[in-house]
Symmetry: D5
Subunit: 141 residues, 10 copies
């Protein structure tokens, strides 16, 4: 553990966040996502839910401001209402980045996008529609 880094952010995850550069993407996958079969760089964070990880990551890593949608979410089937977890994500993102601009990908488009990401974080999140991709922005000291 270190000061100013949330305890759910593991050593491997910080290392990976630091190695990522402008435009690289990271996937926060829920507990049922086929993470191991869709990446060569897997970080397991068993027992953790996505919101606290998202918060811990955004405290360290800025989102990309050069693209229209630095956030990607996974659409799924016919949805009645907006998943409540998206609202949670939006608040966390707005808290760090002021605005929340997300695009929505079909399940299999999301899978393909995940495959080309820099890394996938496998959480134990149980909420539906909870998968999210973040694109790293430029760090300025």
């Amino acid at each position: 553990m270190l000061k100013n880094i949330k305890s759910c952010i593991s050593p491997d995850l910080v290392k990976i966040l630091m190695e990522m550069g402008h435009g690289d993407e990271i996937v926060l996958a829920d507990g049922n996502f086929p993470a191991a079969s869709h990446t060569k760089r897997l970080v397991r964070l068993d027992g953790n839910e996505t919101p606290e990880i998202l918060e811990g990551i955004l405290h360290l890593m800025p989102l990309d401001t050069y693209v229209e949608y630095p956030v990607s979410l996974m659409m799924h089937g016919v949805e009645v209402s907006r998943p409540s977890i998206w609202q949670v994500y939006e608040e966390i993102v707005r808290n760090e980045e002021n605005h929340f601009k997300a695009q929505y990908l079909e399940r299999f488009d999301f899978y393909e996008r995940a495959k080309s990401a820099y890394a996938i974080v496998a959480t134990s999140e149980k909420a539906l529609y909870a998968n999210i991709i973040l694109k790293k922005g430029v760090v300025t000291e």
Copy 2:
């Protein structure tokens, strides 16, 4: 994730619990324990607290009934009262094993014992005196 296994119990941890035999020990170390420097088989469970991991482990692994003390705790300096986390541990253990028999080791004796254990689980537990060692018992189908 699988049925009947708590989500905080990672794939690596289950594999290690299965590999362990009668008399092998596993350490649940708090977030400040020097885990990486005291074992060659390290399982990190960042972001998790010890009680839920203890519960998840005991749901799968019996404690040793051939020894007097299948549980070891770490004493620390001059203690005013019994740490509340010990009470939590006792209840979890009693729930699975009926009785709770623990010995208390001085800090450096605990460190030495941890070094010879089969594995150390590094949690993010923040309670004081929360380190605990479990000795595996005999599994009978």
Copy 3:
């Protein structure tokens, strides 16, 4: 060994079942299947027959309910009657999942499907037509 996990389910196999996500597939291959040449993730369970492994897996892992056929079997040449092992499989699956919905693949289609699976379990099953592929479903605690 652990409580509630059948002894034929090895530590590596449990680890792999846990790593798999929704939609990932696992092959239970008979003793003559060219398993090592058709996967990069091989689990050998020499000396074991498929039914007990199938039972042990389904006790831990749900089948996919989002697809029509979560089970795939390998057709072979001109068959006179339904292989008796299929009846055994059907009963085991029904026992855990209530229904049994299987598709039948030609030998070389089955081989191709096996190659893209997450893992292959090499058993010593000697019954004919005993190869089977399972698609993992969603785990809800």
Copy 4:
């Protein structure tokens, strides 16, 4: 699988049996033996019982005739009667080697002996007192 090799004898086990020379020892450990912590060369044969493995090994590997006791068994506590599994072992050994000469080691002496063996085979044997060590003899074509 190959002709004349029992299906419970895995590829790794045959390789190890071939690499062993005159005087090297192999341990057949029951399902609760702390195998992984007592060897650097571990062969897991989950789901198998010891008698069939013993039979498969002796079909390939002769016992040492240069020592008094090519077989070692593990004593345990105060025994009322001779464990029935020992009778099974004796018959299997006599079948291949004509005679059965075994020594009996205390639990911790057995553990030490196991540590210096060439390899340990971890079975799922559930019988009590089922651990056994075999010393390889000279192969003459």
Copy 5:
């Protein structure tokens, strides 16, 4: 060394023969064959000639009876008479399998076939036209 396995069959070779399944192929390459550049699974048996290895393999591994030609030989240039080593091979194969059905491949077709085989055994055979590919059959205990 083990009973009933010829001493020229190395531990690695037996392990590979056991891992192979129905339809997998193995190449016995002569001393000048570019073996290392045509496979990722190479077994060197320096100092050995092919006939004794062929005999040792067929004693353990059945040939495929589901295909017309379980044996492949390498044609080479304009041949005056049938190479005498082929007669040796035919006798060894007939001894174990009753019949000898071989197809003949041009040099570069043979090379391509060798590349997709499960393994190549590099012998020190010096006879001309001595390269041979074997397709594994079904093992029934």
Copy 6:
């Protein structure tokens, strides 16, 4: 790069700082220190001087408050005056930790201590007497 982490703190270094626990030590070695021969966990930070690294580390990692001297410096021969770099270190430490309590080790005692540290950071620091060892304290969120 990440927010709130100085750019001289490399991904590997942060990972190591996170893995360290209470009481583990890290050495900041100058450019001529025999670092590679005195540790199995080496972090090279070529081109960097020690003060900025010290500052970057202390921003993340607290020093141990359970020991008298959480800081160790290397004495060297007959010194006329206190090395100016020690003054720099003292200010940086006081800035983060309020007090600066250091012990002084003879050259070869320092080498031995370095060997048992968790890691050594090899800098390009050119100042004399610039080697320094830090003992990690307890992190409380």
Copy 7:
């Protein structure tokens, strides 16, 4: 450290520069460049800026004189004036090589070019437009 090699040039970097041959390229990437995802041979020089590294490299490695542009720079968006860092680069190059001949690549062309380079050096350079690719020339003693 060694004589005549600047301290920011790490052991790994010198090794890589020596392994490179005529026509091989190396990328000096700024602190936000997605370096790890665009190369299999990554040298991190955290905490260093590009000009001193460029100077250290050119002191050891000649540029290619067989091509028109041994230097490549990354264009970016609509530029008002020439980035001042380019002037710094030009002076350093001219100092060693007499002339400075650079081509300018669009961002994504630059990324593709970087992928096929022999190595990428990840610096902590913060200036804009600071990425640069060098093509190695012929060394004559």
Copy 8:
């Protein structure tokens, strides 16, 4: 060192020459050749010139007599006269093989050919046009 093997032929190089078969090729590259980026099997012989290596290799390895040109040389630009190193090569080859039959490849054709060779030997040869590829022939005792 061994009897009858020149001291410039390293252990790794002999091993590679032995592993090569009929038709496999090896490249002797000069000191500026981009060797590491054009092969996965690299032998460095720093400090050595090509003629002595060529002599050492041909003392052990015959050239291919089944092809028209067992030797390939790299053409380069507009040449006034035949490079003197080619005369040296011709004499060394004739000494072992009686005749010298070489083809000449354009620079980039030579690079492509080098990539598909079994190995590249990186020498410190400084003569121009000194790169040479050898095709191994059949060894008959």
Copy 9:
């Protein structure tokens, strides 16, 4: 294969012979010797007998002339007459080295000596008393 190297001398064996220096020892072990458990550098030459390997090695490697006994043999039990294989060894050694000076070690002294040798060659030699250790001498071109 290469010219002037016997085909039973494998690529790995030549590499090891070249790496050995003055005073390093190599063991030629018979088919029943516990080779794998007595060395970390094992060369298997299954299917080969020791005399031809001895001959092939001595053709390349001189014996040590600085010690009284460059050859060590293994005594065994009460011997009636000199083993005939020793006569074979003596002739092969005399052929290359003019004289044959051997010491005789008790079985367990031989085992200890083998453990400290540079490498062990595991042959399939079946003659009794056939184990032999060679000490490498000085190579002078």
Copy 10:
């Protein structure tokens, strides 16, 4: 190759020289020295003689001025006159370092010292008494 580094100094050797710190030692061993068995960090420079390597190293690495004898040579038996290679070494060292201060170690003391050195360079030097150990000094830019 790079500017100002002699071509006999390989990439691995420069990397090792850079990693070494004040007081670390490097051995230049002649062609018959048992180098591989006396170090875990071996650099082979087959085909090269020691003087040119010594010159190349001293051009980059200063000798230790804090000890009486930064150079160690290997005595051997009864010597009539000073080996001529020592004179060569002395001149090379004086050329870079002004003075030449060497101690002389008995053969087996030299071997022990070599074992604890940072690395051994295996040359093909054939002169007698040519082994030499260098102790690295402090680099000041």
